[in-house]
Symmetry: C2
């Protein structure tokens, strides 16, 4: 049986999962592949701490460069994360003619252009299924299964930490800070949760997804991004009253002249499939012009689910190697040479539905002042909830709107927040509801 040599860079959680999976599922892997995937070397700075998996002595090294120099290694698996030395090592592996599999979304979203161009120039494959949606085959689905479609839109939950926190806030009515601490204790959130809860991780993933869907390069800074740390249990309760759940969504919509690309907490109707995605699960609701709705759901992170995606890339590349070919499918759906930049529409020009929670003084005429300003800015009110219960001397006045322009909404809120009958900053949440 032919052997495909693997080199693993990064022996952390996911790296350990990959080793475990290659060992434990060797039977199905060999039966399906007709070849053996063999780990030749594992590089990690920490060669001391024991991992929950047995490896041959001598496999482990501190020098990642050794893997690139090893002629027995066909595929390098990069699971170190971070920008350096991952970037340099990947580029060096590619230019040495090695195929690469990586889960490094931050790197691909930031330095993808160099990396994918190098892979194509060297005629080697780069697999990155594990970089987005963990175990969910969203790369394969966008690039291959939906290859005959124009992608109309993608609505996705791509950050398990944020979804875990929002789900828990929804179920238990606890504030963000409390739930974040619980998530950290359970290992569902990092000590510094900024990347996850401020939508940065989601932006990296959306950049990758956009390039696959539209065969275009994306500038990360063009994606509008807003996190979940400002959400309150009160907003979650009010959303529920309105028939909505709040999710941190990544949204991509094909529009005339470009693509809408934004990440922010979003109210979606209870009966939307994404509303049922709880805990740390991820999901993608993709609409193709021919396929119609396709919904994919699974574990977005975790040792074995992510390892499963890494191994699916390994199998794909191994199949090419066994047939003596490479680059059967362009990494980012189109050939790098012919790939134009994506045009992302400015957030200010987008139209969507809004939820506002004003902190108003309990006095006659407040509603008319607020709605007057909204009217001047061409913002039509769909619903109003005023419950009259005072909090810190103010009553919450909640409004939802029909489709309005972001720039108009921001201008209106600036004006409203200056009113002497309004106390504190108005809370805003965007709504995606086809019935509005």
């Amino acid at each position: 049986m032919r052997t495909i040599g693997l080199g693993l860079m990064g022996f952390g959680t996911v790296g350990t999962g990959v080793v475990k999976l290659l060992q434990e599922n060797r039977d199905v892997l060999e039966a399906r592949l007709g070849a053996r995937l063999t780990l030749k070397k594992i590089a990690d700075l920490d060669i001391v701490t024991p991992r929950p998996v047995a490896i041959e002595p001598g496999l482990l090294t501190r020098r990642a460069e050794d893997l690139i120099a090893d002629p027995d290694i066909d595929i390098v698996i990069e699971l170190m994360g971070g920008f350096e030395p991952a970037r340099t090592l990947i580029l060096s592996a590619l230019s040495s003619g090695k195929h690469v599999v990586t889960a490094n979304k931050a790197l691909l979203a930031t330095h993808g252009n160099d990396i994918f161009r190098e892979a194509e120039a060297r005629g080697v494959n780069i697999g990155f299924e594990a970089s987005v949606g963990g175990t969910i085959p969203v790369v394969k689905t966008l690039r291959e299964a939906l290859g005959g479609n124009h992608i109309r839109s993608i609505f996705a939950i791509m950050n398990g930490t944020s979804n875990f926190i929002l789900s828990k806030m929804t179920d238990e009515g606890e504030p963000f800070a409390t739930v974040l601490k619980q998530a950290q204790a359970l290992g569902h959130a990092e000590a510094d949760p900024t990347y996850d809860v401020e939508g940065i991780d989601t932006a990296h993933k959306l950049a990758i997804v956009l390039s696959l869907a539209y065969g275009r390069r994306v500038r990360l800074e063009d994606i509008y991004r807003e996190g979940i740390s400002h959400l309150t249990p009160q907003d979650i309760d009010l959303a529920r009253e309105l028939g909505y759940r709040i999710k941190l969504l990544a949204i991509a919509v094909e529009r005339e002249g470009g693509i809408e690309a934004r990440i922010h907490p979003t109210m979606i109707p209870f009966n939307h499939l994404l509303a049922s995605v709880n805990s740390n699960f991820n999901a993608f609701h993709i609409i193709g012009d021919a396929a119609d709705s396709v919904f994919l759901y699974g574990q977005g992170s975790g040792m074995m689910p992510t390892a499963s995606a890494v191994v699916s890339d390994l199998m794909d590349i191994a199949r090419d190697i066994l047939k003596g070919i490479s680059c059967r499918v362009p990494s980012r759906a189109l050939h790098e040479a012919s790939m134009p930049d994506i045009v992302i529409l400015p957030m200010a020009e987008l139209k969507t539905n809004y939820y506002f929670r004003f902190s108003a003084v309990d006095r006659p005429g407040v509603l008319s002042k607020i709605s007057g300003i909204l009217g001047q800015k061409d913002i039509s009110i769909a619903a109003v909830i005023q419950k009259g219960r005072k909090r810190d001397g103010a009553v919450p006045v909640v409004m939802t709107t029909y489709k309005a322009r972001e720039a108009d909404v921001q201008a209106a809120l600036r004006e409203i927040d200056r009113l002497d009958v309004v106390m504190g900053k108005t809370q805003l949440c965007r709504i995606e509801d086809e019935s509005l």
Copy 2:
């Protein structure tokens, strides 16, 4: 730009969709493929009726054999359906060295062994993504994306007609016969709905799914099968009271010694993702040992969604052709030569949870007689609902059970149905609920 020649057999709804998709999405297809997919011939017995798509004159022929003889045709797309002449034509195309794409689940489930063996012997590809789950990339997901996993279980809704009928019965409280007529009027059910509502179509699809998941040949007759025509609005209401929705599920579970494979109406908890799959949508809940839960959802039928799956197969095969290779991935996950038969466990030995609706005479002691028999057969009762409302002189007594053996359940019901205090046949529905 290189051209890949296509021949289409069957110019019905899906065939028309494929032609339309190749025309309308030529831009993305060519950009992603770097080649042109060109229809060389279309064969159909009806060359007169106009289709909602413009084709070059001279493309249409009544002789499907002409496509096989045409040296310009690389891939034959079979969308005629039925056993003959589809089977003979596919085998003939394969033995002429042509790749084949088909959506013909009945044919693959019944004559798959001959067809897949011939394809492998001739070194050509056979694509069948459209045969299961319509637009949902379940073939690709099982065979490639989850290739590193042992598949623990698959729970699926694979028949749009049955799901449409059950959803409408649930939402509107109408009986089966009424909803079937509405579905027929809307084009969601055939004039003879047997294939769909009796689970035959689902069995064909499950046979294909099983072979992909387990790399084994399946005998169709080993799959237990029960349809939806005996379900009543009363059972749907009672299920709702118990916290369940009824769906026609195809179930495959890996067990010691073999695979559990069954198709029947199933009560599942409201919060299960499959409970939210309504109208004519299909969905697959797959559990892999590494990947954990993966859920896929989309249109299981329809002109353009099915065409999207056909075109994804065409692109896959075209990519092999462009690289000068074939058979990169074994059609049924393993090489045909090394493929053993699957062991499907006998239904009588399986254990699951049950719902019974007894039609009991309203008289003291009935409950003790029924529960006595259940107890003798080792069937433990989880819940009882008795509402006392008479229907035709009988009151419905509803029970749910903890895990019980199918053979014991059938024996108990035979005995119970003979009791003089029980009027008419007891209604049985299986429950899948992890909390039971």
